[in-house]
């Protein structure tokens, strides 16, 4: 593993209007780590997390595999099993169809850095995952 693509995940629990789990991603998200992020989200959901805030404020880079992770997390938070990202063959029909104008209600993104925000913009993910600029706004939006 090269020195620049390190990544760490830190979990916090916050009580807003509802209990919110904050998953902070530190470093870079690429093909080396995206499966770990998905696994962590799966664990959180299994443990009872129903409102997830992805804090990307300390994520300096996100490759296309990061989009796969976000997509899978959105499905997980909707109680659906995401596809196998590595092999892509599953019979279930999980697709993250947004609610309330296209956005996934219980999974949001917090304060992405410009390169990551750009990737979300270009990929169209901002139309499905709400991006909040600050923590207070994010928590209030759940």
């Amino acid at each position: 593993m090269k020195a620049w693509n390190q990544m760490a995940i830190v979990i916090h629990q916050v009580q807003a209007r509802v209990p919110v789990t904050i998953m902070q991603l530190h470093g870079e998200l690429d093909a080396s780590h995206y499966l770990d992020v998905i696994a962590q989200a799966r664990e959180l959901y299994a443990a009872g997390t129903r409102h997830l805030l992805l804090d990307l404020s300390d994520l300096s880079f996100m490759a296309s595999s990061g989009l796969v992770a976000l997509h899978s997390i959105a499905l997980i938070m909707r109680g659906r099993e995401p596809p196998d990202p590595e092999h892509g063959r599953k019979a279930s029909p999980p697709r993250a169809k947004g609610v309330e104008g296209g956005l996934v209600a219980n999974c949001k993104i917090l304060n992405p850095q410009p390169p990551v925000s750009w990737a979300l913009e270009v990929s169209g993910f901002k139309a499905f995952l709400e991006v909040c600029a600050d923590l207070e706004t994010a928590l209030a939006s759940f």
Binding site: L67, V68, H71, P85, G88, R95
Partner: protein, 554 residues
């Protein structure tokens, strides 16, 4: 006949010293007792060497006293006990000629003889110990050789515990045994999920052994040495009669893999240090074999992966255009640089249906660039599927936005592929330069405008294809003027890294294009590739790099 509370020697006298040697020694010393009778009797009271005239009844009257080297005299007979390693071996007995009481000469003669005989016996014991040790080492080496032949060639990790335990059971007596493996090898300690990989003995006893050996296994794995535990010293939830447990760790220098555990019932002899040493040797061999099997499995998997990637690459390359379009007034250049793993990049040129054909050249040209998430054969197959869908939609005369929408819908409906696709589709009217385009979540192409010497991005809101049920890409249009350049690329270009981890980025791409805007499409493409190569400075590509340049001639 042996003194009380003095344990007899483990090996009978006749196994230590040949009768001829003892008789010769007695004969020589016997010359010092003219007319006397000298004999050596064993601990069992039998005459071992010397005169046969001694009667058992005479000999049985004598009881040796405690204390080595103390001779006693009874009825005119001198008894000189012989001790070796503090154990009673036998006695030298002597009687003087006639009925004369034995004098100091007899006693001194016996003591000298006893000293010589003791020395002889010590040497014999040492030789016996060396032979025994050598034999034990030979058996050990033979066992290890056989183990190496049996287990060393086994590359099935699931079989090795059974083979090892079978060999252990052949060599060392035990009432129950098991090979306990950790689910995931851990560094240093024995923490982790344990499972029984092989066992012998009654099931309930094996279970008890498994639980009872937990602490012993931890200690053995920590120290790297075998450990023998007396279970009778600890209360057991279920009494299965187990007495001692022998536990030897199975570990490599880096990881603890598990442990080999044996148990004996209370009435059986305890395990010895020698047993522990032998079991440890087998555990060590098991660790080597398991590590070899693991490495072999990894190699096989890597080989399969490499074959899969090669197949994927073959599929991918077969779907890329063999050449660029040839259109008057336009230049095209395209390149694809694969990374170590197949990444699923796609570009395509599609001659679109039009009422007007200009010298058999495409009047309306569809251009696609796309990037599939994922690697290997699944990504390659998905790319092939997506290319076909886009081509089909384009050939049916759909607009760029409709092509993106319908492609997304078909991918989602098909549901076999769970991968994403970012794609950018543009339709170019080669007569007018009118460009209509729509974006499916792909990197925005660069557009250099000769008139104004400005560079801008072909921005268009859209979403990656295959991730969401419905997408609504915006369709946009621009006019490509003479001297203008379009650069389509995948993120393999902008996310190429230098040794410090920095990204090539959109701004460097833009600067390179602006610096070579007057060059031909081919030259500009080469300049971009050269800039990326210079930036990466030998760092290998982590993703496929795809790039094509379209230039309207001035």
């Amino acid at each position: 006949m042996a003194p009380q509370n003095v344990p007899p020697l483990e090996v009978p006298l006749h196994r230590l010293v040949k009768r001829q040697e003892a008789a010769a020694l007695l004969a020589e010393f016997g010359t010092l007792l003219p007319g006397g009778h000298l004999a050596l009797i064993g601990a069992d009271g039998r005459v071992y060497a010397g005169s046969a005239e001694w009667k058992r009844a005479e000999l049985q009257r004598w009881q040796p006293q405690a204390g080595e080297g103390q001779s006693t005299c009874a009825g005119g007979v001198v008894f000189q006990p012989v001790f070796v390693q503090s154990r009673y071996v036998g006695a030298l007995v002597a009687r003087a000629e006639g009925d004369a009481s034995p004098g100091p000469l007899v006693e001194r003669t016996l003591r000298c003889l006893q000293t010589s005989l003791t020395l002889l016996l010590h040497q014999a014991l040492e030789t016996r110990d060396v032979v025994s040790e050598t034999l034990a080492r030979y058996r050990e080496i033979n066992l290890l050789y056989r183990i190496g032949e049996t287990i060393g060639h086994c590359l099935e990790a699931e079989e090795i515990p059974r083979l090892v335990l079978g060999e252990v059971h052949r060599i060392i007596e035990a009432d129950v045994g098991a090979v306990i493996m950790l689910a995931v090898p851990v560094t240093g300690t024995s923490e982790g999920v344990r499972s029984i990989a092989a066992s012998f003995g009654a099931d309930e006893t094996v279970c008890v052994l498994h639980e009872a050996s937990r602490a012993a296994m931890e200690r053995a794995c920590d120290t790297g040495q075998p450990i023998i535990v007396d279970l009778t010293c600890f209360p057991q939830p279920v009494d299965t009669g187990l007495g001692t447990v022998l536990c030897a760790p199975i570990k490599t220098p880096e990881h603890t893999l598990g442990a080999l555990v044996l148990g004996r019932f209370r009435e059986q002899p305890e395990f010895t240090a020698g047993d522990g040493k032998l079991v440890m040797a087998l555990a060590h061999q098991a660790a080597i074999s398991l590590e070899t099997a693991r490495l072999h499995q990894e190699e096989v998997q890597q080989q399969r992966l490499a074959e899969e990637l090669e197949i994927g690459r073959t599929i991918q390359l077969s779907l890329l255009p063999a050449s660029c379009p040839v259109v008057s007034g336009w230049e095209f250049a395209a390149t694809y640089r694969p990374a170590r793993q197949v990444g699923g990049d796609l570009y395509d040129f599609i001659q679109l249906p039009t009422d007007v054909l200009i010298r058999d050249e495409p009047g309306l040209l569809g251009m696609v660039i796309a990037d599939v998430t994922g690697k290997g054969i699944p990504a390659a197959l998905f790319m092939a599927f997506s290319r076909t869908v886009i081509r089909s939609e384009a050939m049916n005369g759909r607009s760029p936005a409709t092509i993106m929408q319908r492609t997304n819908r078909l991918i989602v409906q098909d549901m076999r592929y769970r991968l994403f696709l970012s794609a950018f589709y543009a339709a170019l009217d080669t007569r007018s330069g009118h460009l209509t385009y729509a974006n499916g979540g792909h990197n925005w192409p660069l557009w250099y405008q000769a008139d104004g010497n400005a560079t801008r991005w072909l921005a268009a809101p859209g979403c990656v294809l295959g991730a969401f049920e419905e997408v609504e890409p915006e369709e946009r249009a621009v006019a490509i003027g003479p001297g203008d350049v379009l650069v389509f690329y995948t993120d393999g270009v902008t996310e190429a890294r230098n040794p410090e981890g920095g990204l090539f980025g959109e701004e460097r791409l833009k600067a390179t294009v602006e610096a070579h805007a007057d060059a031909s499409a081919q030259e500009l493409q080469e300049a971009i590739l050269a800039a990326v190569e210079e930036f990466t400075d030998g760092t290998s590509l982590s993703d496929d790099l795809t790039l094509f340049v379209v230039k309207r001639q001035a």
